[in-house]
Amino acid sequence: MLFNSLTFVVFFVIVVVLYWSIASWTLRKNLLVTASYIFYGAWNPPFAALLFSTTAMDFWLGRQMAKAKDQRSKRRWLVASVCMNLSMLGFFKYGNFLLQNFQWLVARIGIIYQPPHLDILLPVGISFYTFHSLSYTLDIYRGVLQPTKSLRDFILAVSFFPQLVAGPIVRAGDFLPQLVRPQPLRAGQFLWGLALMTLGLFEKIVLADTLLSGSADRVFDYAGPLVALDSWAGVIAFAGQIFFDFAGYSTCAIGAALTLGFHLKDNFRFPYAAIGFSDFWRRWHISLSTFLRDYLYIPLGGNQVRPFRAALNLVIVMFLGGLWHGAAWTFVVWGLLHGSYLVIERVCRIFFEDKPWANHLGTRILAGVATYAAVCIAWVYFRASDFTIASRMLGGMFGQHAQGDAILSTREILQVALVTVGMISVHCSLRDSNIETAVSRLPRWAVTAAWALMACAIILTQGTSNAFIYFQF
């Protein structure tokens, strides 16, 4: 079920009331497991069985790994876990993509092969829960986590409903320790959780779906060439939409977890105020970038190798990061673009970091603007469903369609401009802070007014139950 649906409101109220009225910690955890499977099964009940089987397998493999006497056996169990998880992901998410590419490849050598189209329904959030589960066996292998003795606790760590389908990617090592003993009900924490949920829903329903998605959809769905203003407005609208959509989900998840006494880490830290691409990736989808860093980039050698190899590692990581988002070459190009950006940034650092002008305010502002523009250009490949659309969009953005069409109304352009300016201003002003500090510093009336306004705007917008973009990943 979606956070922005009536079903979730009723479900959440029931879960929270029952949860805090039960004294037994074991029963509370059982309730959360049941609620999480209902939450997931509400999309497609059979997929709950798939979720359970992945989880149970990793639980068993984790125990085998812990029992293993030597490193070699441990590695075998790890390989089994990685293969099991990735083959599941590969089959459901990349099955048709792989077949299509195989067909294309053999056609190059003159073999005509018509693969059957696999009618595979993608289980919601499979990329997220696979990583939740995989982090457990990876951490046991790395020796930073002991396997849990409780299957129920591990099931809860993988399927905890606030973060189950669209992140943040919560590592078992961060969540399992929180299941040791119950947290008491604290009014401040509970109500702050509700306030965060309101903020998340406001970002999703009002900012992403109502004020930005219409312009982005119209521009990307338009079949003809567009003038530069409309092209840029559409891309900038999408840049805002995807941030508010995904950060909104993460904020809701963090808030919902807090109301139940659990603490999830930040997934976004004002990314559009980033100066440089490494800074961007420290602020955007942090749970994914740290996952890729710890489990892929560092094992590949990280920075502790020759510069060329380190650059190649970066590109490999971002290539796979792009592919994680979706089974299409456009996502791969998006990932490779970010990989290239990171490499270029490293080269620039080598040559210019020590220059006296490098830390001037003007340089930093210019670097921030360049980062935002480059990120927007990369978003074109993320949003476009094929390369024809992407190249048409880029053509429009860089003035190749002076005689193109103008399709956005003045109101839509103003909406996109106002929301974007507001978003970037907030990101810049809170760049070195966090939401908690900002709220602590605000006068009480301002917090009240902001919370009430957001709640009123959500009610006024009536939430049309648009799915979150990251559900498809």
Binding site: V144, P177, L191, L211, S409, D432, T448, I459, Q462
Partner: protein
């Protein structure tokens, strides 16, 4: 000055249990018992929450009263989930009403039940092409009931990818893919929508309110025409009825809607990125394809013992002139019936059906729809050989 990262670590990672030996229970999971805690802003949350709840309640009540004072009443939103609810009610022998908003507003379920002996299921949708619904019923191997399909040429022949087709495909897709959560949300939403006037997604949500801002557009901008404002109510059977405020043809609302139909029913100019000839050829091809696909769907339904009748409902004033000019009967209705081999009822062929006037040029008033349905029944029985 500490960096942001160290500041963040300081705030979020509080290893307060780090300096004591973990208990046995804590050792179950290896690592530290609680690695980090999110900071909670130290302010008076209880007081703030009470004020927020009161403000939101007061604002909602105020908005509700405001909406009612300007003529809005509680009614269900017509969305894919409500449609799916009715689609699920279709049995193999059902009488099903499909197509655009004319069959939706102009047919009274009680009168049809009296005349046809069975209560029909209303699956018509505003501004839609009826073909996706027809194809869906034709593909439903169990269905061998009766279909009454509203026919407006500009909508029925809408090309793939156009809004009338997309809306039709969207509702059919939801029927096949609806999740239990979506179904539950619809059951929860209906009682609220039946009581709260401002819950109107197509009219009173923030996005729609922003569209009303009087901001002039750039010259030459290809902005889609506006849709008509609220003029009907809907019940759980999806029976649409025109509201009283719209039933007066000289009333402000009816006149406003009349002027909205004209740009909506006027064919848009060919896209700038395709030559006119190519575009017209593509449109011709799409219409030809729709003729053929409809004929095939009709054939499939008939082969299973099902029945179908197409109905052209009343329309008036400037809209009738526009439709008669742009989609003349001789080029649309007549060849369409010939090709599909299905029976059809054109309202103006029968004096008892042609005396009705549509207040806003496109639909009958709630009162007239009852009378029209009563008079239509004998024609339906005859066309369907009942």
């Amino acid at each position: 000055m500490p960096s942001f990262i160290s500041n963040f670590k300081e705030r979020l990672r509080l290893p307060r249990l780090f300096f004591r030996k973990p208990s046995r229970a804590e050792q179950i999971h290896g690592g530290p018992p609680l690695e980090f805690e999110r900071p909670i802003p130290p302010i008076q949350w209880r007081g703030i929450t009470v004020v927020v709840v009161l403000v939101v309640l007061a604002a909602s009540i105020g908005w509700e009263l405001c909406c009612r004072s300007i003529g809005y009443g509680p009614t269900l939103n017509d969305n894919e989930d409500l449609w799916t609810l009715r689609r699920r009610a279709v049995t193999p022998e059902s009488i099903v009403l499909i197509g655009d908003s004319r069959g939706w507003f102009d047919l009274d379920l009680d009168e049809l039940q009296k005349g046809l002996g069975k209560r029909p299921i209303q699956l018509g949708v505003g501004g839609i092409c009826g073909f996706p619904m027809l194809a869906d019923l034709a593909n439903d191997k169990n269905f061998h009931g009766t279909i009454i399909c509203s026919f407006v040429p500009r909508l029925f022949f809408a090309p793939p990818g156009s809004p009338p087709m997309e809306i039709g495909e969207k509702v059919v897709k939801r029927f096949h893919n609806q999740t239990p959560a979506q179904r539950a949300s619809e059951y929860l939403a209906m009682p609220l929508e039946e009581r709260v006037a401002f819950l109107k997604q197509e009219e009173l949500d923030l996005g729609e309110l922003l569209k009303r801002l009087p901001i002039p557009n750039r010259p030459g901008a290809l902005v889609p025409p506006r849709l008509p404002p609220y003029f009907g109510t809907l019940d759980r059977e999806r029976r649409a009825r025109m509201i009283e405020a719209c039933a007066d043809p000289n009333g402000e609302l009816a006149r406003r809607i009349q002027q909205i139909w004209i740009p909506l029913f006027t064919p848009p100019p060919p896209p700038t990125y395709i030559s006119k000839d190519v575009f017209m050829a593509k449109i011709g091809e799409a219409i030809g394809g729709r003729f053929r696909d409809t004929a095939a769907a009709v054939e499939r339904i008939r082969a299973r013992g099902g029945k179908i009748v197409f109905v052209r409902f009343p329309h008036s004033g400037g809209l009738k002139e526009l439709e008669d000019r742009d989609t003349p009967r001789a080029q649309t209705w007549d060849p369409f019936l010939k090709m599909t081999g299905a029976p059809g009822i054109y309202y103006s062929d029968f004096p008892e059906l042609s005396g009705f006037s549509c207040p806003e040029w496109s639909h009958l008033s709630a009162g007239d729809s009852v009378e029209f349905s009563k008079r239509l029944v004998p024609h339906l029985r005859s066309a369907l050989k009942m």
